[in-house]
């Protein structure tokens, strides 16, 4: 009986100590995770800024015209086609639009 009480007491003491130690250990772990989160967030922000600057219309226009040799479509080369889907009861406020760019001169249409 006596040994049991002492054993129980000891277990309680160990439990208490283990709990304390574990709190500290978890504390460090939380801090590490936080630091990792911060680094990841930082990286995400950097990538977002980079994405944003790479998709700037000024840059895209420059790459398109200077490196890829593209030109602005001329008058009549872009036809806007409004597609109204049947069976869909006026779902979107603006009708679905498909834009067709033609490379040939507008004459092609009448042929």
């Amino acid at each position: 009986m006596k040994t049991l009480t002492i054993l129980a007491g000891l277990i309680l003491v160990f439990l208490f100590v283990w709990e304390r130690v574990d709190i500290v250990r978890l504390g460090y772990q939380i801090e590490r995770s936080k630091a990792e989160k911060l680094l990841l967030e930082r990286e995400r922000d950097q990538l977002q800024v980079r994405f944003s600057s790479l998709t700037a219309p000024e840059r895209i226009a420059k790459v398109a015209t200077e490196r890829l040799g593209m030109v602005q479509p001329q008058q009549g080369q872009v036809i806007t086609v409004h597609v109204r889907l049947e069976g869909v009861p006026t779902a979107p406020a603006s009708p679905n639009e498909v834009r067709v760019a033609r490379n040939e001169s507008p004459r092609r249409l009448s042929e």
């Binding site: 500290v24 504390g27 460090y28 939380i30 801090e31 911060l38 967030e41 930082r42 922000d45 950097q46 977002q48 800024v49 980079r50 994405f51 944003s52 600057s53 998709t55 700037a56 219309p57 000024e58 226009a61 602005q72 479509p73 008058q75 872009v78 036809i79 806007t80 086609v81 409004h82 597609v83 889907l85 049947e86 639009e97 834009r99 249409l109």
Partner: protein, 560 residues
């Protein structure tokens, strides 16, 4: 033996009492200083995006370099090591490090790569901390509207300033505990949250429209060797600004070398004498008051008319013409006569109704109300002068809103730039909806005026604004500037402008282009009208607005 033992215990007890009770406060403070540190955290400044969520301004954590001069033995050597990495002259760094202080900034908000290099070098007495820096990833795009934020993250100009209360992050002081190695032990109270970042703004601006507007404006300003230029594109039905630009632009990422003159948003802060574009307002007033109809005959006095001992000229000699032709040919004499028929009080009332002399209340700082004197301060020539757009100072914003009012069937909308404010989790905090200011003229007057203004573009002074396939309504303006040296109208300094909207029957865009001091041919129809065509053409295409003479294509139902 016992006494010795008691003495020993007594000594220990005494020491314990002195340490734990008498010096307790002082020692705790001392210990806290060693293993606690208080740090001010500031939440990141909110992001600004365009109407489609494209990022226009956002914060990013970047390294700042500091020095501890008191811990340095050889500032010269450290400075020589730092100089090539930071691209600062070594004697400048040395001067900073020689100060008798325990903390100095060596360089703030440098590039992430530079911070990494310094961490590798691990110089003694030099440290790196992360700070939020404002980035404008699109470079100079929209610079005059966005404005900029200072080094400590406070909004100084433009939207950054107007919406600073929403954009800036929360500031919070936190106490951290450090262990023997200087690592952070969890803060007192685990519930401690990082400070909340600022709110995000969604603008009405469309990045692509803005780009087109800036590109074409810059080209026009360069071609005319002009001093400056302004363009505003908006949706007349809502008052939402799609694009607003001032040329020359500036780069907010490299502000140091610029003077305030360069970042002033001239679209709101500078007034100009509008010249002939003012005739739109005078004509609308005369139509609304039923004093004129498009067919009313007006005599052009063969190009010369005496008013208050001064002569008013037309640049072409006109005889009898209809009221509509008078606007299309931009006759000064016709406009002066229309103003006289209206009378001082009525003209003044309409000018105010169209928003002149008052701020448009757009959500940007620094807007001025322009210059419109009340009739009792008018001179004998004023009525005629104001009718042709002289003796009145307007901002480009006021003028485009006046035109947009006609485009919107006579109802004036309040111009606005921010449509949504969201918190960092994306919850909507505030939605800003289009606001009607007032009805200025009847829908019938607006329609009649639109027909007359279409004539300006089809066979008047504004033919260069015509966009093939679309009906354009607009008015040119060419005004002489007042020469600051003589105080009279200059013969060489002009302001050329064009204001209009398209498509005329169901306007999607209202636009103003103002070119300040073009060299050579300075007519609004020559320097500004082509910008309207080029921007209008591309933007209508981008927005998917079909031309009026569109080819109808029959689509076969799917699956057949």
């Amino acid at each position: 033996m016992l006494i010795l033992l008691l003495c020993g215990f007594g000594l220990i007890l005494f020491r314990l009492v002195t340490l734990q009770v008498l010096q307790a406060a002082e020692l705790t403070a001392k210990a806290d200083r060693q293993h606690q540190k208080s740090v001010t955290f500031e939440g990141a400044r909110g992001t600004i995006t365009d109407r489609h969520g494209k990022v226009l301004a956002m914060n990013m954590e970047v390294p700042s370099v500091f020095g501890v001069p008191t811990a340095l033995e050889n500032p010269l050597r450290i400075a020589r090591h730092l100089a090539p990495v930071l691209h600062i002259r070594s004697d400048e760094i040395e001067k900073k490090l020689r100060q008798d202080r325990s903390f100095v900034w060596v360089a703030r908000k440098v590039l992430p790569e530079q911070g990494r290099q310094l961490e590798h070098m691990s110089l003694e007495g030099i440290g790196v901390v992360m700070e939020g820096r404002r980035f404008y990833p699109k470079g100079p795009l929209l610079s005059h509207v966005l404005g900029f934020a200072g080094i400590d993250g406070e909004g100084l100009e433009g939207l950054e300033r107007h919406y600073d209360t929403y954009l800036h992050g929360e500031k919070r002081v936190t106490i951290l505990q450090r262990d023997a190695l200087g690592r952070t032990v969890f803060p007192k109270g685990l519930a401690e949250q990082t400070p909340a970042p600022g709110h995000a703004l969604t603008l009405t601006i469309d990045e692509v429209v803005q780009y087109i507007a800036e590109k074409e404006l810059e080209e026009a300003v360069n071609r005319a060797h002009a001093k400056a230029g302004t363009i505003i594109v908006l949706d007349p039905q809502s008052g939402a600004i799609l694009a607003m630009a001032v040329s020359p632009r500036f780069d907010q990422n490299a502000m140091a070398a610029l003077t305030p003159d360069r970042w002033r948003n001239r679209a709101l802060t500078d007034t100009y004498e509008p010249g002939s574009t003012m005739k739109v307002v005078v004509a609308a007033a005369a139509l609304e008051e039923r004093l004129m109809t498009p067919g009313t005959m007006v005599f052009g006095e063969n190009g010369r008319m005496l008013v208050a001992n001064t002569t008013i000229h037309d640049h072409e000699k006109h005889g009898w013409m209809t009221f509509a032709q008078m606007i299309q040919k931009s006759s000064n004499i016709g406009a002066a006569k229309t103003g006289m028929i209206l009378g001082e009080q009525r003209l003044y009332r309409y000018l105010q109704a169209f928003g002149f002399g008052l701020r448009t209340e757009i959500d940007l700082p620094g807007e001025v109300g322009g210059l419109l004197k009340p009739p009792k301060e008018w001179g004998r020539r004023s009525l005629a002068s104001i009718s042709m757009g002289q003796e009145i100072g307007v901002t480009p914003m006021q003028m485009v809103i006046a035109a947009a009012t006609l485009a919107n069937g006579g109802v004036m909308m309040k111009p606005y730039l921010v449509s949504e404010i969201r918190d960092q989790k994306g919850h909507l905090l505030k939605e800003l909806l289009p606001q009607v200011k007032r009805r200025v003229v009847s829908a019938a007057t607006a329609r009649t005026m639109t027909t007359i203004l279409e004539g300006v573009v089809t066979n008047g002074t504004g033919t260069k604004a015509a966009i093939p396939g679309y009906r354009v309504a607009g008015k040119t303006g060419t005004a002489q500037k007042i020469d600051p040296r003589t105080g009279t109208y200059s013969a060489t300094l002009f302001v050329g402008s064009f204001v209009g909207y398209v498509p005329a029957d169901a306007p999607r865009l209202a636009m103003i282009i103002v070119i300040d001091e073009p060299q050579g041919e300075a007519w609004g129809g020559t320097v500004a009208a082509p910008v309207f065509r080029r921007v209008g053409e591309q933007v209508l295409n981008y927005l998917g607005v079909s031309p009026n003479d569109q080819v109808k294509i029959a689509m076969a139902p799917q699956g057949q």
